[in-house]
């Protein structure tokens, strides 16, 4: 915690306030967009894009990931890889093992159980 560090932090104060204002604006935007009569797919996409943008701002500046060391990036890369694998497995399982779920609800597919193929 040298004077050098203190000067560096002082320089970032305006940036932190800017990020805060951006986060508030994006929150209002999320609510405003949800009031529009968009289709489900578009509404979900827009909401997730705004949320990802907000999360990136918090991560990059408030959590200092924009200036972090390689060890932390490596750690997050591993966590991210497992997270996306898990999400990927979920989507794959919906597609491969529950073929009726996307087009029709589970209740509808349950009526066909038990099926010889195990679907």
């Amino acid at each position: 915690m040298t004077d050098e560090h203190a000067d560096e932090v002082r320089k970032h104060l305006k940036l932190y306030i800017g990020v805060f204002v951006a986060l508030i604006v994006l929150t209002v935007a999320t609510v405003a967009v949800s009031k529009l009569a968009l289709g489900v797919a578009l509404a979900v996409s827009v909401a997730l894009i705004i949320a990802t943008l907000k999360v990136s701002l918090v991560g990059a500046y408030f959590m200092h990931l924009a200036w972090e060391k390689r060890a932390i990036y490596a750690l997050l890369l591993v966590a991210g890889a497992f997270l996306f694998s898990m999400m990927g497995l979920l989507i794959w399982s919906l597609d491969a093992h529950l073929p009726g779920t996307v087009k029709a609800p589970i209740e509808a597919t349950e009526k066909h159980h038990p099926s010889p193929e195990g679907h």
Partner: protein
């Protein structure tokens, strides 16, 4: 026995052990909340009456939006608290850190009002799958807020004595508490549109 590298960076990782430890913990949290978000997707895609359940639950968008703004504000006060310590301004740290705890309490108050309204209308976790995942996700998140309040209250109370004896270590502790707090904010940023708006 002194724990090594609690203030200065380890030469091999480039960060101090406390920070690495908090990031490891947060990486595990990514998986915990990620698994629950996957559960949400699975339940939603497979549900026949999701929109009916969602509208019957009657989640308050004004309360959800207010709580989002409250948490974002608590994140900036947390950053300012840490920055104040870096600039050796302990008085400002107390102000900003105190505000962070106060905002966390405001969040919990709104959450309690929301839960109370749901319970009084007979909306319990067992009512339907939407309410089940709503209570699990928001309940687990609220427990994280509570944990943050407890740790932060210690740090502004008895834990603050460390500032007088080892200011650098105290600043590292606040940085670690801040990382956790921003993560809790980050989870809510995804929870709010997912549960309230979509």
């Amino acid at each position: 026995m002194d724990i090594p590298y609690i203030v200065h960076a380890r030469p091999d990782t480039g960060v101090n052990n406390g920070k690495l430890g908090v990031w490891l913990f947060l990486a595990s949290e990514v998986m915990l909340f990620g698994a629950l978000f996957s559960t949400y997707v699975f339940l939603r895609v497979g549900a026949s009456d999701w929109h009916t359940w969602h509208s019957e639950a009657g989640l308050s968008i004004p309360i959800g939006t207010t709580n989002t703004i409250v948490l974002i504000t608590s994140s900036i006060t947390m950053v300012m608290a840490w920055a104040s310590l870096m600039m050796k301004e302990f008085g400002k740290f107390r102000l900003y850190f105190g505000l962070t705890i106060a905002l966390a309490l405001v969040f919990m108050l709104f959450k309690a009002i929301e839960y109370n309204a749901k319970f009084s209308h007979g909306h319990f976790p067992g009512t339907n799958n939407f309410l089940a995942i709503y209570y699990v996700l928001t309940g687990l998140h609220a427990l994280h807020i509570l944990g943050g309040i407890i740790v932060n209250s210690y740090l502004i109370g008895p834990g603050a004595k460390l500032w007088r004896t080892n200011a650098a270590q105290f600043t590292c502790r606040i940085e670690a508490a801040g990382l956790y707090w921003h993560f809790v904010d980050l989870v809510w940023i995804f929870l709010f549109p997912t549960l309230y708006l979509l």
